[in-house]
Assembly symmetry: C2
Homo-oligomer: 216 residues x 2
């Protein structure tokens, strides 16, 4: 019963997501949905992209509560809109209809690269197509080698994996080769870039990936 309801919700969501994607393509706005666990480094790696991209950038910030991250982005002088899911029962993901309505109300008409920072959650956001052209998953090296196997849907739905906080590798027991093997097992087509949002390593590769993938 629960699964049946979920299927209906997902089908409706997919329909809206395709609409969002098509409309944005016509407007030449490239939508990137950034997902990952709480604290994986989503906000910081979007900030790094805003600093380095030579295109007009905007952000749709998804949180259950607070507008803290949206305020950080607004300080950078770019158009930002907040979706708080608190009023929707504290939803653990963003849905395409909320993205559609946020874009309508927001000030994104001349934005070339629009980021969604999804709710910090390695499970639920993977189930809901937001209408993005590309999904980017951020995994911190502190999270462990087993995460691709334990949260496979997220790895399957993503186009790029940013392995973040690589500056901490010397202090962890993480086996990075095993992590990479596990990623390949789940999704051999996933692009992978190792980065450190804090130290800046790999950020240029992340920016190049964005520029290379813009096809709108």
């Amino acid at each position: 019963m629960e699964i049946k309801i979920l299927k209906k919700i997902l089908a409706a969501n997919d329909f809206v997501a395709d609409q969002v994607r098509n409309e944005l393509t016509q407007k030449s706005t490239f939508l990137i949905n950034v997902m990952g666990s709480p604290g994986a480094g989503k906000t910081m790696l979007i900030q790094r992209a805003i600093e380095k991209l030579d295109k007009k950038v905007g952000v749709i910030e998804g949180d259950i509560e607070t507008t803290m991250d949206a305020e950080k982005f607004a300080k950078l002088g770019i158009p930002v809109a907040q979706i708080n899911t608190g009023p929707f029962g504290g939803a653990c993901h963003l849905e395409a209809a909320w993205v559609r309505d946020t874009i309508k109300e927001g000030n994104f008409s001349d934005v070339k690269v629009l980021f969604i920072e999804n709710i910090g959650n390695l499970v639920c956001p993977a189930e809901f197509d937001t209408g993005a052209h590309k999904n980017v998953l951020i995994l911190s090296v502190t999270e462990g080698e087993d995460k691709p196997l334990k949260y496979p849907l997220m790895f399957r739905k993503s186009h790029l994996l940013l392995i973040n906080k690589c500056d901490l590798l010397d202090r962890l027991e993480l086996d990075i080769n095993l992590l990479l093997e596990n990623v390949k097992k789940i999704n051999p087509h996933l692009d992978i870039i190792k980065v450190s949002g804090l130290k800046g390593n790999g950020v240029n590769d992340w920016i190049s990936w964005v520029n290379r993938n813009i096809k709108v």
Copy 2:
């Protein structure tokens, strides 16, 4: 509409959770529900507790996919049962009815301390009472100071916060005092212990907390 359905599900879950709790109290089994983000250190801190507790321990392992963590626990020679939520649409949390059925089928009759390792997720598991006597939240210092404000329900529903990976503090820009302030804002009654699962710091305090709170 979606919220209405959720409310019904939650009310039914609460009813079963109370049953689970009452039955376990009668059997003198103390049930601890361990929650936290993927990679916060749930498995490791439960392992540390198993090594140090002078009582018979069991584990109910919750994962969307895989039995890897359950196998780790089984190697320690304790009774373990796995709940995989994959067949339930990849559910992002555990429900009380699944815990009830797992206890019935498992080999936990003489267990004094039964741990649930919940799905790695800082959002959804907080909404579902599992029937546990106490909820323990594990937050890694790598996750950032803002998490209590952004995921308040989880902090409100927990009785103990284990701040894990404190051995990495010297390498992070985390302001631990701000983190503690944010925790107090959301839940002033939350017990807090700083630990390092990897290095062992604070583990004795975690064990003492368990022993002090057993009231079954």
